[in-house]
Symmetry: C2
Subunit: 441 residues, 2 copies
Amino acid sequence: MRLSRYFLPILRETPKEAEIVSHRLMLRAGMIRQEAAGIYAWLPLGLRVLNKVCDVIRAEQDRAGAVEILMPTIQAADLWRESGRYEAYGKEMLRLKDRHERELLYGPTAEEVVTEIFRASARSYKDLPKNLYQISWKFRDEVRPRFGTMRSREFLMKDGYSFDLDQAAARHSYNKVFVSYLRTFETLGLRAIPMRADTGPIGGDLSHEFIILAKTGESEVFCDRAYLDMPVPPPSVDFDDVAGLQGVVDSWTSHYAATDEMHDEAVFAEVPEASRLSARGIEVGHIFYFGTKYSTPMKAVVTGPDGQERPVHMGSYGIGPSRLVAATIEASHDEAGIIWPDAIAPFDVALINLKVGDAACDAACAEIQSALETAGLSVLYDDRDERPGAKFATADLIGLPWQVIVGPKGLAEGKIELKRRASGERETLDPVDLPARIRRV
Amino acid sequence: MRLSRYFLPILRETPKEAEIVSHRLMLRAGMIRQEAAGIYAWLPLGLRVLNKVCDVIRAEQDRAGAVEILMPTIQAADLWRESGRYEAYGKEMLRLKDRHERELLYGPTAEEVVTEIFRASARSYKDLPKNLYQISWKFRDEVRPRFGTMRSREFLMKDGYSFDLDQAAARHSYNKVFVSYLRTFETLGLRAIPMRADTGPIGGDLSHEFIILAKTGESEVFCDRAYLDMPVPPPSVDFDDVAGLQGVVDSWTSHYAATDEMHDEAVFAEVPEASRLSARGIEVGHIFYFGTKYSTPMKAVVTGPDGQERPVHMGSYGIGPSRLVAATIEASHDEAGIIWPDAIAPFDVALINLKVGDAACDAACAEIQSALETAGLSVLYDDRDERPGAKFATADLIGLPWQVIVGPKGLAEGKIELKRRASGERETLDPVDLPARIRRV
């Protein structure tokens, strides 16, 4: 992609309304634009990151056996009356009426809708287990939306819902998602720690929040440092291995880890002092097992092997991709800008032409772009008529993992420069060696 | 994907509420489920088709130089007051208020939001041309939603918006989209005819609807049969070739073609009788050039080469993917079910195991699935314990382009059967030849 044909509205000034670094950098890098309080448009660069985060989430969900669907954003109030949550949910629910005065709402979550979908066709234990997930926009009418896409009102959420015959099977479904989330965050370059959590308006007995540590986190968290280097299962993990998966979950819940609401100072004091870690955290995932809380009132039942009807055991599982984009920046940036992990970088390479209009530079850049793209790498080619300093600043700000710098002096010797954004390391090399050099990482 | 692990709620009965064949088939094939009047959930099979339609649209938009963004579903009423459309839009707009009583709406289209995004950064003619598009959910509160996803209230739309310095440049942007839409429909296996159209609430001087002919179309259309076999430009078409593109558009608008509202019986009578075609049509795309209708009141201005500020010339361009899924079925089905064009089939192959539990059949199916997937083909493997008749009926109903039938008799001779869904043609072949045989098409 040539930058001259792209839409990258970089801001020169640091926006005053942005309180945290990810919000500032997302605005400055032209990733998002606020359209109303807590409501953002995703500009091209931001959307590419958001889509990549979704791709990572989707790959892990599919691997774990979940099946993707897409429920509507607008839901019928009557369905929420069946579960008893319509009145209970409070002011965070955006309620509305259509032209026929029918009560609708913009879904903040979808337990009711998915239970309705499931009960419409499922009849037997043979239809189980099922895990249906979607990645879709939700709305929660926060009193005070802030921190950009970290706590916005309209936000993207992957929400999954599992259906099982009994508690033991439901526990396995819970464990599958637990492990798939560990893998998702690992792929995103984030260290997320599962913590026992309050179940809030979703309800249920068992719940974990996945928390990443960051100075700007909203809540205080307490955990054992053992989590910081605990190994995450590899892609080859067998999601059908009930005991194996339980073992992973057991080890990932064996040490102390609690959010503020669940914190127990006395128990925490038993952790050796050198291992005690109290820090700020950002919630990036939340999983729940709530048994028959929805299936009983909504009559989502199946016939068991014994011929008896029983309500299914359910869980629900959320990850917020739009929040994860911000959380990743909180965890990975420096003074000059964003530092994208390779897995979710909007482009792999920033190609910088130091002298646009110079025949040799233009030709070399065109060739390099073509060679890199042929090798499966994505390139944002800065072909603007700007001074080098501005181009370097833009490249550092938007944080693509690699910068390829092409100037007349180097070219005279048949060389270009390659810079790794994260480390700042530079090397000089022959352009033909570029694709292999970058692919090596 | 194994069907036993998938979620495919086939309906045995034909749903009474469905008036047209696409609606009936989408419900029966477990593609969608109605959650409220005109509001649908997309189940796994339907979502795969919808995503493929979006992929086709996206590829053509990117090729034509448009850049993808994503605007929020919820928009501020004040922005629509700037353009003067807030009061004018009428009851199809879903209006709502948040907890602070601020007026919001669920976007039925996004001219205002995209103009706001553009004006925030664009300063000079050097920032032009731009075409920003999104694929996102819209809401139009139809009085009488019907025909399933053909005329739903919550629907997916690709909407693009072009920004140019003057009318001539804007005309080229219009032509780019015109040609990209011709190519999009061609790839989807649909013959769409551009017809002069009324501009309605979007406004402007120049507008074409892209119409496909179908018995169940909502409106009457009139055109010259010459359009039925007019060639569509190849993928290599040069979108920067101003004259070349105008030539394509000229030839695609050289014959008579009009919707009911724009129909002129006298002019139509001049078409040779053998070429006159009057039929029912489904609108699958609509493009508009409306000059400075939004840029003037909303002050979206740039400085021209002469240093003078002027409002940009704009157009907007819509294709409805959720409607296209239904329209494709209207155009491509038979008594037994859907017949997907290869480009948007949810899976390439239905793999039918006639005797689940038979060691040879199970092993052969596992091998075939693996071989096809390795060859880049997607497979839905019917591993259910069902009688062959039910499996054949399901395969025909869901309409995957190929059926691979594996039974003990054939296997004894080292053979399996391959059926092409569209033609019904069958052939017997060695399983190892399957990937190459299917890839040949």
